[in-house]
Every structure is written in structure tokens, then in C-alpha cells.
Amino acid sequence: MKPRSSTPSPAPSNPYRLSSLRRRGAPLALAGIALAVAAVVACFAYAGGWLSPDRLTQAKVMAAFDAANGVHPGFRRNHAKGLCIAGSFDSNGAGERLSSAAVFQPGRTPVVGRFALAGGQPFAGDATGTVRSMALSFRPAGGGEWRTGMNDIPVFPFRGAAAFTDQLVASRPDPATGKPDPARLQAFVASHPETAAALALIKARSVTSGFADDSYNSLDAFRFVDAQGRATPVRWSMVAAGPVVAATPAEASPDDPNFLFDAMIRRVAEGPVQWHLVVTLGQPGDPTDDATLPWPAGRERLDLGTLTIDRVEAEAAGNCRDINFDPLVLPPGIAPTDDPLLSARSAAYARSFTLRAGEPKQPSAVQLQASGKGS
């Protein structure tokens, strides 16, 4: 090598030469370096789940949805068929003593949301018995957005992500019949007593005529946190303000595969539809980590205000289609509980959102003009 003026005395041997690798100890040093790098890579792979094929990952949950429902690019992996809604929430201020969330201060908050049917098939025909959902995003002017996804069932049938995914796998269509194998579904329920108990409660619920007279429940428990940091376990519901009409089998109209959504579109064209935000306060000992269990009857319930839905819109770019109604998008004043389902929902919703955001889109089955009298 070229001697440099800044080098006072030439090194006894140049450590950068390949020949220096023949030095005693060099192979050991090289092996040590390789081992260190390999160890870091192995830890990284472990953290990413690549070394644990049995670990349930977001990718596996998505794969289970695809296997059960088929692949429908651009649509949500669950609650795929939906209709955008918008309106406002008028808080009566009763929530202020429990939560410092901006949305509970007296006054009006703009709301956007989405009605949907449970299931991952965006073109499935409406059926009265299908679980209905209401997803909302409350957007106070000064920040503190609150999103919630609610269902019209009293409890959730699965305790966590593993049970949910096992059920999806069990409901995968049998290649021979094209339909889920009832024996596999029965075997799943038999091995999950909490699901069996929850399904009994779900089956016993009264089914209403449509989206407008239905009530929707948070299912998971959350914590309301007041300005002093005091937390109260809560579950909330949107309870229909208008008269409730029970569903009758006659309402299932096979000639309109979107009869539930179309009825909602017609209903809003006639005038705004309202719900009460009713929050149920948990007592010490009430389960906050298990959405399959109902809370005991007689818990204090507070009406925190009125939701008014006065607009509906078909899913399109930039509206509710592009919102992830992640149940853990919570404002200061509302916090998660120890319910493991919450994190799993958040993760699965986020992955579903990421997938569909990057996929080509096709129009939703639910369109305003198709109802005959769009708003």
C-alpha cells in the first residue's frame, strides 16, 4: 500500500489485506462475526413469526377469511357488504362525569359511519337473520376522533382470535358440496363451550325488521376515563329511538337481494333515523376480558345522547369505504380493557384495510339508484 504522510510509522502489517485473514485467530473472529449476525437474524425471524409455524398471525387470519369466503379484491375481509351513512351525535353531557372524551361534552359532533352485514361475501343476498353491524366515526372539531364497530347481537361468539379463526377454518366450504360441512362446525362448537353459550343467547335475540329499528352493541368492554383519571368499565349500545318492528319471514324478498339495505335507503329518504347512545356501567367483578359473557341484568345504564343519521351513500372512494373502523381508534377519555379480542380485532381490521386499500375496486352491490327511490 501507498504510505501516507499522516502515518508516522508504517503498520507492522496491513490489517485490511486479505492475507491478514491467515493470521492466527482470524478464522475464529470471522466465525464470531457470522454467528453474531446470524443470531440477530434468527431473533428477527422469531419476532416476525417465521420460526413458529403454529403461531396465529394476521396473515393466517386473512388466509382463513379468503378460504371461507373466496377472494373479493377491494372489499373488507369481513362485513364486506355495506352502505355509507352520515349524520351527527348530540351529546346531552351525561357522559362528562365518566369520560373526558370531547364527544361527551354537551353539543353536536359530526358522524360518518357504515351499515353492514357480517360475512366476507360482498355480493351475498341480504337475509334477516344475518348479523347486522353499525360502524361509526365521531369527529369532534377539535380532535379526539372515536371509532366503534357494533353488532346487533348481545354477545360475541368467540373469546379471541384463535377461536374466531378456528371457526373460519371450520366453515370453509367443502369442495364436494360447495357448502360448509355442518359436522365440522358442530365439532368446533362442541370444543368451545363459551361459543355454544354465546350462540344460544344470539339465537334467542329478537330480530328486527331492518337496520333502522335495530340496536347495536359494542360487545367488547372499554374503560371510560374521567379528567381525574378514574376509570369505569363500560359497554355501549346504539338503541333504536323509533318503534321496533319484529322481522317476519315474509320480509325476506328473494327478488331484491339487497332488501335490507334498500329499505334503509328508503327510510332515510323519508327522514332522519335516530338512536340513543346507551352506556352500561360495569361493576367490580363483571367480565371485561370476555365478550362472550353478558353482564348481569340490572346494571346502571346511562343515555349519553342521540345519534341522527340523515344521509346514506353508496361506498365510493374517500367515503366510509376507505375508513378502517378499528375499535381501538379511541379518544383521550376512552381506553381499552384487558379484552384480548380488542387487539386482535384492531390487528385484523388493519390488515384487511391494508390489503383492500391496495387492491383494484369494483362497485358495491348496494347502490342508491337500485333502490328505486334513492335519497
Partner: protein
């Protein structure tokens, strides 16, 4: 051969604090992208940590301009110097780009960015689901590139410490007093 001077104290402190934070961040990120039950817990660490790294990266760039690193050993061959400078430039670019892409991606997704349940970060992009999908992929690709660059950095640092023994490693790793540093310097080498 001449041995490089140590990095200034502030540079060494920034280096090691950020090394710990960035490595933790890479592991949290890869675990988060796969996990279900721990997802939310990891997200609530990942986001404020990303902002902290962005702020520290800015401090570090300023610090580097004010207090340049000691020169590399004069005997270091040119390709090795290029690799050293190039990989460091890449590390700096990525430690600034990753938090920014993360922030932009959450903005494009339309998520409110609430740090530690209290501080709301303003969006830096308007909501755009298609753009979100691109940025989300970019975040993963850049993170994997940062991890690969980190592995190269780790291997090179260990090579300086164990193979070359040219003082480059201790110019960053040394935190002892001058006497300890001097003692290391005069310690006889195994086969030099």
C-alpha cells in the same frame, strides 16, 4: 498505524441510545405486523418511539455537522471507505425516512395519530387509501433495508473490533476514561 480519535461524547451517546431504540423499533415492527393479541400494545410503543427516533435523528444530523466524526484510519483501502461512508449515509437517510413514511402512511390512512393516549399528532397528508397502500409497502421495504444495513453495520463494527483491530470500533464503543483507552491501545496484539 495511527489510531482514530474517539467520537465526541455527545456523538457516542446519541449513537448508542439510537442503536438501542432503532433495534427495538425494528423488532417491535416485525412482531407487530404479525401479531394479534400483542398488536395494540406494540403499536402504542411503536408510534411514539418512531417520533422520538425522528427527533433524535434530526439532533444527530445537526450534531454531526457541528462535531464531525474522527477520520478513518489512513491505511483503510478506498472500497472499504466508500462502503463505510455509503452505509452511514444510508443509515442516516433511513432513520429519517422511516418515521416520516410511517407518519405519512397513518395520515393517508385517515387514522388519528394519538401518542401515549394523550398527544394527537397532526396529519402530514390528506386521506388517500391508494397512497396509504403504497406508503405501507414502502414502510416495510425501507424497514427491511434498514435491518439489512444494520446487519452490515454490525458485521463491519465487529470486523473492526476483532479482525482489523484498527481502533475504529473503540472510537465509538469506548466509554471508559483516557487511561482505560490508553491501556487498550498499548495492550500487545495477539499476532500483529
Amino acid at each position: 498505524m495511527n489510531r482514530p480519535a474517539r467520537f465526541p461524547f455527545a456523538s457516542r451517546l446519541l449513537h448508542w441510545v439510537m442503536a438501542a431504540l432503532i433495534l427495538a423499533m425494528l423488532f417491535i415492527g416485525i412482531a407487530m405486523a404479525a401479531s394479534l393479541t400483542d398488536y395494540h400494545r406494540l403499536v402504542t410503543i411503536h408510534e411514539p418511539l418512531g417520533l422520538l427516533i425522528l427527533v433524535l435523528a434530526a439532533v444527530r444530523v445537526i450534531n454531526r455537522l457541528l462535531a464531525p466524526p474522527p477520520p478513518l484510519p489512513a491505511a483503510m483501502p478506498r472500497p472499504m471507505r466508500l462502503a463505510a461512508h455509503g452505509s452511514h449515509l444510508l443509515l442516516y437517510l433511513l432513520m429519517v425516512a422511516l418515521p416520516l413514511v410511517g407518519w405519512a402512511m397513518l395520515s393517508a390512512a385517515g387514522y388519528p395519530i394519538l401518542l401515549l393516549g394523550t398527544v394527537e399528532l397532526p396529519p402530514i397528508l390528506a386521506p388517500d387509501a391508494g397512497l396509504y397502500a403504497l406508503l405501507r409497502s414502502a414502510h416495510t421495504v425501507l424497514a427491511l433495508l434498514l435491518f439489512a444495513t444494520f446487519l452490515g453495520h454490525l458485521a463491519a463494527a465487529l470486523a473492526h473490533a476483532l479482525l482489523f483491530r484498527d481502533g475504529v470500533f473503540s472510537s465509538m464503543a469506548g466509554f471508559g476514561g483516557r487511561r482505560a483507552a490508553a491501556a487498550r491501545r498499548i495492550r500487545p496484539r495477539a499476532s500483529a
